[in-house]
Symmetry: C2
Subunit: 535 residues, 2 copies
């Protein structure tokens, strides 16, 4: 999420979510920390949305619940945003405005216009914000594709005109700043999909991003040629295809779509099944199909499974695990192995695409966005190679601010920004302490030891009782648990002698003694939780 401020106005661009990495145990989603915006609530004028991918719209429900700002997005993007708002039961309150690349918006001194870009989802925009200080351009996500699969050609002439008009600051995405060359055209995927579909002899399962409607159209077209019906599996595939059809982005002939229940009755040579899960998500359709756990549909020997999507970094292992499982079901699996990109091309511009955009825009200042630090650095190098002056590129962390004054830009302040964790329906209720506990619990489990103490005599009554979970299997470790109880009894005796019983000290001492004993015996470090009951 980016915020552009001028005088009394704040404009937001995109509001996505991130997915947690493996260190954020149990976290479902990461959305922007909007503390700064809440502090300046009355100044936020609009949320401008470039396109409908999760990392650009996934945070919108969480934002609107706290700041009900008007949202501006294209027809298809709005369709996806509405799905989300419905799910969060806030669609009715939301103020949504449909725009297109011809729209001009005016907020006092600030004028906003747009230009079409090509990406891996329909209806994407770049944004131009005209301020009295100068023009600011935000590319959204983009690549150049001179032969796109549908009519989603980027408006190159408009971009050239924007550049001629003068760009003070360019914010451009950096996902593929490390990849040399130019992004291949989406048409290549269409050709390979057609070839694979014509060759397949039994059922075809094809998995791709539900939002890649142009690719889905190519699968539809190929299936028509192969005289195959089409079935959809997976909630997001069904929802997004529905939005795409209703809003006119996808054309499927009448009678071609069949229900999931009809798959088994259809001739295996006559059906293509589009399914979710191309990123290896464990609960999505493809993962469940690959282990024979999708109710009502089976991958059988001789079926063809096409993974028409590249794994996003971090998902490689999950994806390849699915490929292995599909092989063991006897399927013919077509996936991106080694260096082949046959069934997938990226939606993000490679180095030559990025340089072309920079050349068209000729910005005075440059802020590479949307990428890991190493990609931002590479993007800076690319920008300097096509004329951006040294020192005119700003590589920013969350919350860092570039201030512009009379054409002079400087990185100055920092505002409160960062990540908010969503866990279940809790937003921000899980912080570092809880995550640290989860980490310890996940690695070595826990030991709960209960001590019943006499309130009057300040003495242990009976023997302590120790319960373990996630540490070692209790039934097989009775001896160890008994020894732990002895350690506790011994520790308590020391305290009873000293005659000064402070429960805080007792707990600390037991934690230490038991922790040390357990580590010596097992080299494990479970969480130790002494509980004292006074009776």
């Amino acid at each position: 999420m980016y915020a552009i401020e001028y005088g009394n106005d704040i404009f937001l661009i995109d509001c996505g979510n991130k997915f947690p990495d493996e260190t954020l145990l149990g976290i479902d989603l990461i959305v922007p920390d909007i503390t700064y915006l809440l502090e300046n609530k009355e100044r936020v004028r609009a949320l401008l949305v470039t396109h409908g991918h999760e990392d650009h719209i996934g945070g919108i429900p969480y934002l609107l619940k706290q700041i009900n700002v008007p949202v501006y997005a294209t027809r298809f993007t709005l369709g996806l945003i509405e799905l989300k708002l419905q799910e969060h039961k806030i669609l009715r309150e939301a103020e949504l405005h449909e725009i297109n690349s011809m729209t001009n918006l005016s907020f006092g001194q600030i004028k906003v216009s747009f230009f079409k870009v090509t990406h891996s989802i329909p209806d994407c925009l770049g944004i131009v914000i005209r301020t009295p200080e100068g023009n600011i351009v935000h590319t959204g996500d983009f690549k150049f594709d001179l032969t796109p699969a549908n009519d989603e050609a980027a408006e190159i002439h408009k971009m050239a005109a924007i550049g001629e008009g003068g760009v003070l600051v360019l914010l451009s995405e950096s996902t593929n700043a490390e990849r040399p060359g130019a992004t291949p055209s989406e048409q290549i995927v269409g050709e390979h999909v057609l070839e694979a579909i014509m060759k397949a002899e039994r059922k075809i399962f094809l998995s791709t991003f539900a939002s890649n409607v142009n690719r889905i159209q190519q699968v539809v077209d190929a299936s028509i040629k192969a005289n195959r019906k089409l079935a959809l599996i997976g909630r997001s595939m069904i929802n997004v295809v529905d939005v795409a059809i209703k809003r006119g982005y996808l054309t499927i002939p009448d009678g071609m779509l069949i229900d999931q229940e009809e798959i088994n009755n259809a001739d295996p040579e006559k059906v293509t099944i589009l399914c979710t899960g191309s990123q290896g998500e464990p609960m999505a359709a493809l993962a469940r199909l690959s282990t024979g756990n999708y109710r009502g549909v089976d991958v059988l020997p001789g079926d063809t499974v096409i993974l028409a999507a590249g794994p996003i970094p971090g998902n490689e292992i999950n994806v390849t695990r699915i490929v292995d499982n599909l092989y063991s079901l006897g399927a013919n699996v077509i996936y991106s192995s080694g260096k082949s990109t046959a069934m997938h091309v990226s939606g993000h511009g490679y180095q030559e695409d990025l340089k072309l955009l920079l050349t068209l825009m000729k910005p005075q200042y440059f802020i590479p966005i949307h990428g890991e630090l190493r990609m931002l650095h590479q993007h800076r190098i690319l920008a300097e190679s096509v004329g951006v002056k040294e020192g005119h590129t700003f590589i920013l962390n969350n919350g860092e601010v570039v201030d512009i004054n009379r054409g002079d830009a400087r990185q100055t302040r920092k505002v409160h920004a960062g990540n908010t964790y969503v866990d279940g329906i809790g937003i921000g209720d899980v912080g570092d302490v809880v995550l640290r506990d989860r980490k310890q619990l996940s690695e070595d489990g826990m030991l709960v030891t209960i001590l019943t103490m006499s309130k009057t005599k300040k003495k242990l009554i009976g023997t302590p009782d120790t319960i373990s979970r996630g540490f070692v299997y209790m039934r097989e470790s009775e001896e160890l648990l008994e020894k732990i109880d002895q350690v506790i009894s011994r520790t308590m005796k020391e305290f009873e002698k000293s005659n000064k019983l402070n429960w805080g000290d007792v707990k600390r001492q037991i934690k230490k003694a038991v922790g040390q004993f357990v580590f010596n015996e097992t080299k494990k470090k479970p969480m130790i939780l002494p509980i004292i009951i006074e009776v």
Copy 2:
């Protein structure tokens, strides 16, 4: 680990470890389950080791502790095995035999001989086991490199002779069966390392696999040319370099090696630092250097960091996180981005290498080994393309057996085999129940609720007490915890009415009621652990 049985004799080939994936919470290591071997202990004649990588020797200490079988390995491989046995304090009892590619071993009717192969560690062997039924060949890990960095050329003529002599079964590794072409030569890395080292202006940190001694020799040679001293960081780097020098596999001129403590006193232009952690291991030197947490050595602006290793699948995210951190320290980072392989070549043969080996060996039967299922399938396709008959390839899971009788091979029985988990010093003491608990604890933490009950009146004394860890932060969730206590009190009232108190039922009912309540309120599913104290 592979076992070859003939009559009363069992021969083992390699005994490695695997590293746990993210689902095996807290597990340190996976070693082979040797149940079958323990049942046939007196028949196990020898462990033959192809080379010294962890996935080929890491399980040896765990094996020898249970079956003290004689171990046969080359001089360098033995050096690495000895390090391990020393750590496990069983070096003295072990029976170790040094072999080389000329060695011939005889165990009754069975004769064993060897051939040199090239890989990414010195002193690698393939193995030929001659039985009265026919000859069995195991390749170990290999590639072909006609211009290797040192004198480790594979014995191609010997391989040809072995093939001419007749190979009944070939077991060949499959790691790169998905990659077209031939593996590039290690010399390429040497050239690029030299170029990078000559260009660097301040300190150089270079990270690679400690066991890739030939690559380290190239770094040494380049540093000599650049007039730089060499320092080593990281325990395994220091240990393995020590073995390599002492056994004659690595030549470092006198006075070139400096201690870690001397790095800061040296002229930054005059020092190369070799460090561990090229796979992004969080506790290794490179990760700690990248966050400024390596005591006594700092990566400073203008320093060069070279990652001369490709990330093993699954480690990409950890590696790129380090690259990002190094950038933010101001270092010049040279790593394998996009499709460049400048600083690394694989030690495993690509498709053309695999086909060459298959062509030389001309096996009657083929067992592709050492790879994920999809790679084994690809390897089968390669084998069939160079003449292995359809149906003569066996793709095996752990424990599956191929029986050969008068030249006729069939996949038949299954013996007990699989994974044993090592956690701390416990071997096999963590099983599915414990792992399931750890998973639940890691995702949503736990709630411990303590109920003090009157033994005589069978009634709750006072209010229940609930403690949470890893669920929500307790101080900020007092209201929720109070409500949970109310749910428990209410549940207990029901029981008290019914007058039949069975602690098992009480616990089950509380788990259910609290679980449901918590899920409705938070959509989280913590582990709920009711504890009843009778007083």
